[in-house]
Amino acid sequence: MTQLALVIDLNVCVGCHACVTSCKQWNTSGAAGPMFDDNPYGADPTGTFFNRVQTYEVGEFPCTETIHFPKSCLHCEDAPCVPVCPTGASYKRKEDGIVLVNYDKCIGCKYCSWACPYGAREFDEKQKVMKKCTLCVDRIYDMSIPEDRRKPACVISCPTSARLFGDVHDPESEVSIAIRENGGYPLMPEWGTKPANHYLPRRKTKLRIHEDELVRADNPLKKEDIRHEVSKDATLDDWLM
């Protein structure tokens, strides 16, 4: 069984919000209609976004780290928003595990937003229906798009490649390997919702350089120890050898 999902590398994300804007651009232009913006140029703008980058400060100054935390619907395998929906508008697709809302069936009662512990549900105040990340379901199966670009808009746009997309049930997929090899984890596993999206943790990127690595220690032809006299006759070629 396929379970499409995103894997987000917190070690790589720089918090540029490119995924947020590209998500908004793609999804506001789709057949489902625009995503509401309230007072977008005013002092207190707000609106419907399927993807948001939150920022956290971890630690105590001066030993702090800033964590940019992109968050969208996690497409839970046991999605709590689905059984509570009174109309059946909220559903999880069997074929690829994407959790979707049928905007034509939704009555806008907002009960699912209470049932989502991740706050991933986004109410559209204009269309009066509940919306959420669709994993760009209208893009990833679009045969008119070149195959390598049939990915969610946020994945395509990420300049640091912090976002991976694929089937987390296929052990050999890029996302499964990333989760396995880099300690990928789900959010709030204590509730048993089994989020499909995973996050890769911050990692210490230290480079150990031994002194031997600075010179060609075991090369008998090495020239690092040859030093030339500094004179006015020396040209750049002498230095470069």
Partner: protein, 247 residues
């Protein structure tokens, strides 16, 4: 979470209606076994109509919190999984059973259904069905909230009990007022139970407030972002500040 005002009106008003019906039903049952003085059928019919009025008002008000009230009929479809859907089925069920109860009492319909040789068997049967449906509706209303396990304040049997006791207390209070006007002999019975139910509701509501104050959070900021550090602070909510559920 902040439930919409229309939802608060819905639960409050249908609570009064359900409680009033339970009060009428209990006094009628008592009168059949001659514990309380019997009243004419019109007394129960008019009282039932008042209860029905509260339920209808609550139902109408509940539509105001929907984004698409014209699609509300769809909400009855997911009764297998959704307590909200079950509530939406139970509410019209209660209303129609109360309507039948009103009609039977107004026309003073009676028959020796069970061969007991006592009057009031039809009213008793319809009243029992209505009361059972009422209890079911209390259960559904409470479970809409208690079934959301992530909201630990609500995810408790006390939520259901509070809806039942607070609704019944308000209904019995209204019944006491109605009886003071129409059937003074019953006022003491209703008022006594109204006091008992109100005090019981006070106790269970206080219990749930104490429980909420002592609640141990299952999720933390650490588990929400998967960073194990004692000090984590959120600095920004993301693009354009909060979404509708953080506004």
């Amino acid at each position: 979470m902040h439930p919409a005002f229309s939802v608060i009106f819905l639960t409050t008003l249908i609570g009064v209606g359900q409680g009033l019906f339970l009060a009428l039903y209990s006094s009628q049952t008592y009168s059949i076994v001659n514990v309380l003085p019997a009243q004419p059928g019109s007394y129960y019919a008019i009282g039932g109509a008042i209860a029905l009025g509260f339920l209808v008002a609550g139902l109408i008000l509940s539509f105001f919190h929907l984004g698409h009230p014209e699609r509300a009929w769809r909400a009855a479809s997911q009764w297998r999984t959704s307590w909200l859907s079950r509530e939406i089925i139970a509410l019209p069920l209660v209303m129609s059973l109360i309507a039948v109860y009103i009609l039977a009492n107004w026309l003073e319909l009676d028959a020796d259904l069970y061969g007991w040789g006592m009057p009031g068997q039809v009213a008793l049967t319809l009243g029992s069905l209505g009361a059972a449906a009422n209890l079911l509706l209390f259960l559904c209303t409470g479970m809409v909230y208690a079934a959301v396990k992530f909201l630990q304040e609500w995810a408790s049997p006390l939520t259901v009990l509070n809806y039942f006791l607070l609704g019944s207390a308000s209904g019995f209070t209204l019944a006491a007022a109605y009886a003071a006007y129409q059937a003074p002999a019953l006022t003491e019975f209703y008022a006594g139970w109204a006091i008992i139910l109100t005090l019981a509701a006070l106790a269970t509501r206080a219990a749930s407030l104490i429980r909420n104050a002592r609640l141990k959070r299952i999720s933390t900021l650490q588990s929400a972002i998967g960073v194990r550090h004692n000090k984590v602070q959120q600095r920004a909510m993301g693009m354009m500040g909060g979404s509708y559920n953080t506004r």
